[in-house]
């Protein structure tokens, strides 16, 4: 499927027509995942992350994004897998998610960023009811890429501030008892 592949650099002009079906794919423990390109603001090389004490494991810490302090989520831990090890190819994908009242910018730690893919609407499949490696409500759709599938994530669910805060509280409560 040659037409599905496109270089990382997306030309501004034709972006509007294609954005609907463009995705940024990345690897996590060897498996391919994707965010909708509209949610991705930029991709950073892994730099120094400041740990924040008393937070759940999947909160990697905070980074300085041109003067703004933004949280970084270790996506592998968030999915309940072993935390990603930092390597030369580790990246932080800056994602904008819509919360109840406003939008929040969150960094997502991934093993490596692959490419921007264009996936036609009719190549999308619903999430399997079971058998996926992650919680099914995190999956917006499965994108068919030839023989393989890419898991297209629901950014707002995966990076829900409310839920992530709750996880921290539940853990605190568990520790107290």
């Amino acid at each position: 499927m040659a037409e599905a592949k496109q270089s990382l650099a997306v030309r501004e002009g034709d972006a509007s027509a294609q954005e609907e079906s463009q995705y940024l794919t990345f690897l996590l423990h060897g498996e391919l995942y994707a965010f909708g390109i509209l949610h991705v603001k930029e991709i950073l090389e892994y730099g120094r992350v400041t740990k924040v004490p008393r937070m759940p494991d999947f909160i990697e810490g905070v980074i300085n994004l041109r003067g703004e302090v933004i949280p970084v989520v270790n996506l592998a831990s968030r999915f309940g897998m072993a935390a990603s090890q930092i390597s030369r190819r580790t990246c932080i994908v800056i994602v904008e998610v819509d919360q109840e009242t406003d939008s929040q910018v969150i960094g997502v730690l991934v093993d490596s960023v692959s490419e921007v893919l264009e996936i036609a609407q009719d190549s999308l499949r619903g999430a399997p009811s079971f058998g996926a490696s992650i919680r099914t409500d995190f999956i917006r759709a499965m994108g068919k890429l030839g023989e393989a599938f890419v898991i297209i994530l629901d950014e707002n669910k995966v990076l829900s501030v409310e839920e992530m805060t709750l996880v921290g509280q539940v853990r605190d409560a568990a520790m107290e008892n």
Binding site: P53, N64, G67, I70, Q104, V161, T165, D172
Partner: protein
Amino acid sequence: MNMDAALQTFFSESRELLEQMESLLLQLETLDEASRQESLHGIFRAAHTIKGSAGMFGLDDVVNFTHAVESVLDRLRNRQLSVSDALVSLLLQCRDHIAQLVDSAEAGNHDSTIVKAGQPLLAALQSYLVAGAAAETQAPALPVSEPPPFERLDSDDVASSECWHISIRFGHNCFRDGMDPLSFITYLKHLGDVISIIPLAEFLPTVSEFDSESCYLAFGIQLASSASKQEIEDVFEFVREDSILHIIPPRSRLQEFVDLIEAMPQVDQLLGQMLVTSGALTENELQRALQLQQQRSSSHQPLGEIISSTNAGIQPVLQAALDKQGKVRDTLVKEQKSLRVDAEKLDKLINLVGELVTAGAGTSLLADNLGDSALNESVSVLNSLLEAVRDAALELRMIPIGATFSRFQRVVRDIAHELDKEIELVINGAETELDKSVIEKIGDPLTHLVRNAIDHGIESPAVRAAAGKAEKGTIILNAYHDSGNIVIEVSDDGKGLDPELIRAKAIEKQLVDENAVLSREEILNLILEPGFSTAEKVSNLSGRGVGMDVVKRNIAELRGRVEIISQVGQGSTMRIILPLTLAIIDGFVIGVADEQFVVPLDAVLECLELKQQPDNPFDAPYFNLRGQVLPLIYLRHCLGVEGRYPARQNVVVVQSGGVSAGLVVDCLLGEFQTVIKPLGKLFSKVGCISGSTILGNGSVALILDIHGLINTMTESEPQLLQ
């Protein structure tokens, strides 16, 4: 000038003036004679300006009502009426009514019910006017205009005309500015009767030069009015700059000169000179006249003789009047020296300054590493300038809490009246400055607390007398800075909170278990729980069981907390403690392993070395600080920092809320101008971190919340014992 924009300015200005009016009215009763007179002038000016501007925009409802208020105020300041409690209350109501009228005008609807609501007020005002008028017939007629001496001086040489003569020549750009000359003349009718209007055709250009968009209108107007010169002048306020305006008081012998001069070709300049000689003019008119005098020094020679012959006796009066006007102008200038700026622009500036400070820190770090002395010097100059810019920028956002506090004068007054209680409000620390965003959000919780204090706290005078207390209750509003926090207190000397009663009520409402063991503090804090109310009967002010929990929630949103201190029979104090959510603080950087943290410098008392001794191992729970027991907090453990232990550790002695503790850290890195970056909602539950900042090397450091840290340690203590 765009009329729509001008209208908006009018609305916001009116609100400011109304606020000013309110605070002045509230002070009236407490002031001595001299300052009271000053306040009355202030109130009158405010009402007058509103009326004048409203007239410009044809807001007749506002004009009509304000006119009545203004008349009473005028009698007040002329001492024809005396200040009384009832009158002040009436004027306060009138003020509210004007505010309503202005609001409805802004909403764009002509609401007759609001106008009707003003009728009783108008009637009440009328009674003051009538009563005063009776008194006036006995008293000698009082001059109406602000600088009165001129008219009386001239009274021996009165012209037959009882009218003001107004000569107005509108500026050429009048139409382009969106002004309608007719509206000014129409508005003059509010001041009195326009007897005649004579168009002056001298200024019309020839047809070939005539520009249809320019305004060449000039009028001579005869006005029969009791208004002061200033009032008439104010009518033309919006066109003052471009227009040439002359107002000649009635009964002035000037009138003769005017008649004489109007026939002359250089009408305006000569008229100006005439006015100088009579003294019936304002400073800027005189200035203009002087300018013209210089321009045409040769042509007005004969007139100069007239001046010298006529004004010999008037000169001192003129000088005094000019001095007085100069003073008035000075204070006006001072009052108006503020500038309206969009809050968003300010936020943007603060953000930029924050980034600038961070970038500056990075640059000085690099310069340090390079070791070039010239570069270092220039960087240090740059940094000191940066600091100055930062301080100035932050100052912009800081507002003294005084304005918020004084709003409560009215609240206390009104509610106390309603409940037949005597309450005095004392304000301390009005100059304490808070970040604008905090001030905006603190109003509602404060209102709740003050209302509660009036309603539940202060007893009725009879009960107070029986308890041996002064009949007049006191509510104190206080604000101060305390180790990086801002503390706002609402205290009353009322009946206080009864822990037993609260406990019983809480059990009744099933908020706590009957057998629960609670400390006094915990019991008092129960009143902050949702659904709790101790008032035995519900009043229309408070006692519905909502309120205190809202206060708690609002304060929590500001990341602050509420403390309650109370003694039965002696009163209670509600203490709101807010963090400085302000953008920049002085911080003290400490290092633990590879991590760096910032402690607010205000909280730091001293730093010591933690000596390792055989009987005092690294993990001793406390430290001997000059004979005092100082509990230690090992940040390494507490914050879960991993890394090698250093050869020696240090103790930073910190204090918060009266509790001292020692923070055990690896190294002390010194002071740092800390730009606070909020950590966002995700981290809102982290008790011991209050925010973050960006260090010179671009990495993020967390700011420790000392109070939270000590609390966390205190709370975890019992668990360790188990």
